[in-house]
């Protein structure tokens, strides 16, 4: 009597499991309640890999098929299903046992690693916040933070200025990586952006899926650095593809269609910041509070020094590399400000709706916007202002100032 087909194949599952051991081993230990709010496939994937790790391939296949019922165009799921089916007929040597399209298989492997890693290494959401979200103004209800390295998009709610985790989603970025410089470089920009509008799916080709949120790339800082390109959007995926592999757009950030629809609940066009980072820096709430206080202090000193009309004190807040939005350099700016300050009495500066976001991709730089009310004896105005602050020799200084 020949041995049963299944008993002959089972031991070989170790090979498949071995490939994934890294991802699965620690996952198996993760407590079930790690799932917070996203309904994505990560939890099910984790279970699939845990079954594979435990050499329960039938159970793994059952779970994979259940997963594919929920996400029928989930290509990574199909790849795993292919492996689990093939493992019933012959030994496997790798995850994604396909000889053709090696690049696409590799991309799907990266997706698996990204999803599992994001799931496993989800930071303690109550205790840590992305360093970028220093301060949100009251009407910014939500902020979006993207981690291109982890292929993950996080949504935070503004609770009295304190960011509180809401949801996170798997996301796709540029095929050539991040830190966009030039038009057509297929990279995703790093920086502080905001959603400018919303485009409905009906007005878009299928490629963009369930809709799109254009971003304001290139922003003021990008233009100052001579960065080019346009049309960087958050958007969905084609109808036949639940998720794109981690690096596959021309620079946009793509989400699964259902995730994009969920995201649409949080996004306020013209208002919602979208901060794209290479790898999010997380701060404990204490450190975050300290950083925020130091900056608020620096800004308050700038404001009172301006009200003092003392040119030296006021100009001490500006970097020698300063440029204004009219392309004035430090010397021109300093000369003009000195004149204005000496000609005006009783300067009053009010600041409201202050937002402060640390800029990813830059060393110690903050994007600050606020509503400014200026008045002096002969003049008053209101404007929304943007400043870029940079840390020079341990002091926060202004390197750009202009209308927002």
């Amino acid at each position: 009597m020949k041995p049963s087909l299944f008993s002959r194949i089972r031991p070989r599952a170790a090979l498949l499991a071995g490939t994934l051991a890294l991802a699965a081993a620690q996952l198996a230990a993760a407590p079930e309640d790690r799932r917070i709010s996203d309904a994505g496939p990560e939890a099910a994937l984790r279970q699939v890999f845990a079954e594979i790790e435990a050499n329960r391939l039938d159970a793994a296949l059952d779970r994979t098929e259940a997963l594919l019922q929920a996400y029928p165009t989930f290509r990574l799921g199909h790849l795993i299903r292919g492996d689990l089916l093939l493992a019933r007929t012959r030994p496997l040597s790798t995850f994604g046992e396909v000889s053709e399209h090696a690049d696409r298989v590799q991309a799907l492997r990266e997706e698996a690693v990204a999803r599992l890693r994001a799931y496993r290494e989800r930071p303690g959401m109550a205790d840590y916040v992305p360093r970028y979200l220093l301060q949100m103004r009251a009407d910014q209800e939500y902020a979006v933070v993207v981690d291109t390295e982890r292929a993950r998009l996080y949504v935070y709610r503004n609770e009295n200025g304190k960011p509180r985790f809401v949801a996170d989603f798997y996301s796709t970025h540029g095929k050539a990586g991040s830190a966009k410089q030039y038009e057509g470089d297929n990279k995703t920009p790093l920086g502080v952006y905001h959603v400018t509008s919303r485009i409905e799916a009906a007005k878009l080709p299928d490629l963009y899926g369930s809709g799109a949120f254009p971003l304001n790339y290139p922003n003021t800082w990008d233009r100052r650095l001579g960065r080019t390109g346009y049309g960087i959007w958050l958007h969905g995926t084609p109808s036949d593809n639940y998720a794109r592999t981690p690096r596959s757009t021309e620079g946009c950030v793509a989400l699964s269609n259902q995730d994009l629809i969920t995201l649409a609940n949080y996004v306020q066009p013209g208002l919602t910041p979208v901060i794209i980072s290479n790898e999010i820096e997380w701060l404990s709430l204490d450190d975050w509070q300290a950083e925020r206080s130091a900056l608020n202090e620096a800004i308050e000193t700038w404001r009172t020094d301006w009200e003092s009309a003392d040119a030296q004190r006021y100009l001490a807040h500006y970097s020698r590399d300063f440029r204004s939005d009219r392309q004035q350099d430090y010397e021109t700016w300093a000369a003009q400000k000195s004149r204005v300050l000496s000609a005006n009495a009783r300067i009053r500066v009010g600041m409201q709706n202050i937002s402060m976001f640390r800029m990813p991709g830059e060393k110690e730089m903050i994007d600050i916007t606020f509503d400014q009310e200026y008045s002096s004896d002969g003049y008053s105005d209101r404007m929304r202002k943007r400043q870029y602050w940079i840390k020079e020799d341990g002091r926060w200084k202004i390197i750009y100032e202009g209308r927002a």
Binding site: L5, H78, L85, L86, V105, P238
Partner: protein, 384 residues
Amino acid sequence: MRIRPYVALGTLAAALSFGSPALLASEAAQNVRNLLQQGQAERALAAADRLASANPRDAEARFLRAVALAELNRSAEAIAAFQKLTEDFPQLPEPYNNLAVLYAQQRDYDKARSALESAIRTHPSYATAHTNLADLYARLANDAYERALQLDDGRETRRSTAPRSTLALIRDLGPAASAPLVVASASTPVAAPPAAARPPAAQETPAPAQTAQAPAAPPPPAASAPAKPVEPAPAAAPAKPEPPVPAGTAPAQTTAAATPAQPAAPAAGDNAVETTVLSAVQAWADAWARQDVKAYFSHYDASFQVPGGRSRQAWEREREQRLNKPGKITVEVDSPQVSVNGDQASVRFLQRYRSVDFNASTMKTLDLVRRGNQWQITQERVGR
């Protein structure tokens, strides 16, 4: 190699059950099987229809009827018939297997898979289903990979050139399957086949069928074609190069009763003759593997009995087409048994056929006749 007691035992079994109504049924079933073997599916269907309507509880008659429907490409009816069989006789693996084959032909691999898994649940050692299932898993894996690796823009069309299903359609209820019927027949006045004739699978059969019915299935050694694809490939039957005699697949050859029994043991001193016969068979296999059509046909005698009652010309056309299919093939002659009787010889062997998308091990018998120095093929049969 399995012993071949079928002729003698078949006769014995027939003698033992002589005069019983079961004999008529089994003879009629044999007739249907013969018609199927000869490619006369229409007539087989008519005969099976009569048999099945006379005896609605006769699993085998209904099974043969469904096979005939499948052979006639009346897939929907065949599926319905096999489906009904799985409901009425859930313990039989063959109807599940054949359902799977038909589903696979329609590229409904998920249904095929579930049918095969059911077949295996009825008989965990059911080799044909295992082989088919392995084939199916590979196919499903291929489909899954294709879905996984589409281009992002979705423009890439699905490959439609996936190899045709090569799953094996069971032509007959095998001994493992018919065993419950035989056991059930103990309550009817039919002699059980001699114990020795029962393949081991019969004893392993879990639970005998509760349905006491006419033992339509002949005793195990009697008859059945081996696993054979629906696509008539006279040369090759799909079954992976697994051990050739799975418990569940069919025993015995249908033509056994019709052909006079060959002297089983070759006379001593025939070794040299045997060698020349064998080398003729080897040359035939080599010509096939080389895809040398001319050399291949040269091994067939003018008196060659074309299977299915077709014309020699039609047969040659078909064979030529098959041989000319692109892609490397190999044909192996494994464990040949030669019997020589004067100018006549018979070689029985396990034929291992491999091509790019198709592997098959088939029991084959070639009858040959001596023409001068040459041994020429007069008949080619598939089966045991």
